[in-house]
């Protein structure tokens, strides 16, 4: 498996969220709430989850879906899983 560049991880995840939520990357601050600030719906959250799983070849347990509420939490979750 290609080594994941942790430096780029935030940029890449931001890009995934930007594409799915159809918002400008600069609006995706670490604390911006996906639903309240970025207008995402539950389908978009599922799409982000599936997209990250595919991109980083990880399995995000469904119970973690509730944790995906902003970029910061998403980044931490992905970091944890890729380091396992």
């Amino acid at each position: 498996m290609p080594k994941i560049n942790m430096q780029n991880l935030e940029k890449e995840i931001k890009s995934v969220i930007s594409e799915i939520a159809e918002v400008e990357p600069e609006k995706i601050t670490p604390e911006a709430n996906f639903v309240e600030d970025l207008g995402m719906d539950s389908m978009m959250a599922l799409e982000i989850l599936a997209s990250l799983e595919k991109k980083y070849k990880i399995k995000i347990p469904e119970e973690n879906l509730m944790k995906l509420t902003n970029l910061k939490q998403t980044l931490e979750l992905v970091k944890d899983l890729v380091n396992k």
Binding site: I20, E22, M43, A50, K54, K59
Partner: protein
């Protein structure tokens, strides 16, 4: 039961030879064909290369930049047609809350989701269930395109999809008429859509239904012509705004035409072949005329179901002769499928869209590529050249090789 009068007050159309009513009608008037080499998928290993493909389709120019990412081609086509129809009818878009309960959607589509189903399943089977994009799953159901019309334009009254193959559009329009007649609905977006997709194209190729798909046959779209040997597949979307006359008058809407009657008949002699005796097609036309008390002499033009297959063109000719008798040869009957291909479920709505143009701009669209007479198809098919003519009542036919036959009449108010 006293029938309400129902009129057409808006049209949105995307055809292989033009996007929007002006381009579409202008192309039909010129006899301009939208049949061209397929670019949406690879045809190098097939005998056939052509289709009525909609080129330069850019949904963002009609629908805006956002919210389109996960929608399939069928849905995008029909959303564009719906938006154009609402705008043409000068109705607010989206529909405001106060009016939404009297509005509905009735869409004809049968194979619109085939590509989405195929692509989704392919990925799930090859890469496993975790690999699929969950947001693409909703596209795999047949009522998804119709539902997206209601979601996008806030239409909360009712939402239906009619899937009766080639007849879907006309049957969907009849469903819309019934909903207006029986309930308090005043405005219905109705019509049909079908995208050109690799899976259905290859299916029709395999069963030899496409022109040129059998060895030694020419790939040519020429309804009523002796050289015909199959359809050229097409795609398209045509949505009309059906409205109760009183409602249209109250808002001073432009009325294109009144929907006068509808007839349908299932022909069990059709077993993957157009019924040679034309029993169902004959009854379909007959019931349609009877529906509003029209007589044979009232029809001035027929928008044909004829699609360049050996059997459909003969069956329609026979049905027209059965109903109209000696007058049959005096009624012009042309096939716009010679210019846009056969768009399956959408074909009835495309014919209706063309017929509205015929009334609006006083012309008869030609049957292009016509060269060689077939004695079994000896009606006046308006060969190759458009005619200027004022037309009052039009009969639209949609017949199928699997039994369904439907007809619709429209007339000037």
């Amino acid at each position: 039961m006293m029938k309400k009068r129902i009129v057409i007050t808006g049209i949105g159309v995307l055809a292989p030879n033009g996007i929007g009513k002006h381009e579409f009608w202008s192309a039909l008037k010129k006899g301009a064909s939208g049949v061209k080499p397929v670019t949406l998928f690879d045809t190098s290993n097939l005998r056939t290369k052509l289709a009525g493909e909609i080129s330069n389709f850019n949904p963002k120019t009609i629908l805006g930049q956002k919210g389109l990412r996960n929608l399939d081609r069928t849905t995008l086509l029909v959303l564009c047609a719906s938006k154009l129809a609402l705008e043409d009818a000068k109705l607010p878009c989206p529909v405001p809350e106060k009016d939404t309960d009297i509005c509905g959607v009735s869409l004809g589509s049968t194979m619109g989701s085939v590509r989405s189903i195929s692509e989704f399943d392919k990925e799930a089977l090859r890469e496993g269930p975790r690999a699929v994009n969950p947001a693409l799953f909703p596209n795999t159901v047949i009522n998804s395109p119709a539902s997206h019309i209601s979601i996008k334009f806030n239409i909360q009254g009712f939402n239906s999809t009619i899937a009766t193959g080639f007849c879907s559009s006309l049957d969907a329009i009849y469903y819309a008429m019934n909903m207006i007649n029986l309930y308090e609905y005043k405005v219905v977006l109705t019509g049909g859509v079908e995208e050109l997709c690799e899976q259905t194209y290859k299916g029709f190729h395999k069963i030899g239904h496409l022109a040129g798909s059998r060895p030694g046959k020419e790939e040519i779209d020429c309804p009523f012509d002796k050289r015909r040997n199959g359809i050229v597949m097409g795609e398209g979307a045509c949505i009309v705004v059906l409205e109760e006359l009183e409602h249209a008058r109250a808002r001073d809407a432009k009325v294109y035409a009144e929907v006068l009657g509808y007839g349908t008949s299932f022909d069990p002699e059709s077993k993957n072949i157009y019924s040679p005796k034309a029993k169902g097609a004959t009854e379909s036309i007959k019931y349609c005329l009877e529906d509003m008390g029209l007589k044979e002499g009232d029809i001035a033009y027929i928008s044909a179901s004829a699609n360049s297959t050996l059997d459909c063109d003969v069956m329609e000719t026979r049905a027209v002769k059965n109903v109209f008798g000696k007058k049959a040869k005096k009624i012009p009957i042309s096939s716009i499928k010679s210019m846009i291909g056969d768009s399956f479920s959408a074909s009835g709505a495309m014919n209706l869209g063309a017929s509205i143009g015929v009334m609006e701009e006083n012309f008869l669209p030609p049957t292009v590529n016509y060269k060689k007479l077939d004695r079994r198809c000896d009606l006046d098919c308006v060969p190759n050249k458009t005619r200027e003519q004022e037309i009052n009542n039009i009969l639209v036919n949609s017949f199928s090789p699997t039994g369904n036959n439907s007809s619709l009449t429209i007339g000037k108010l």
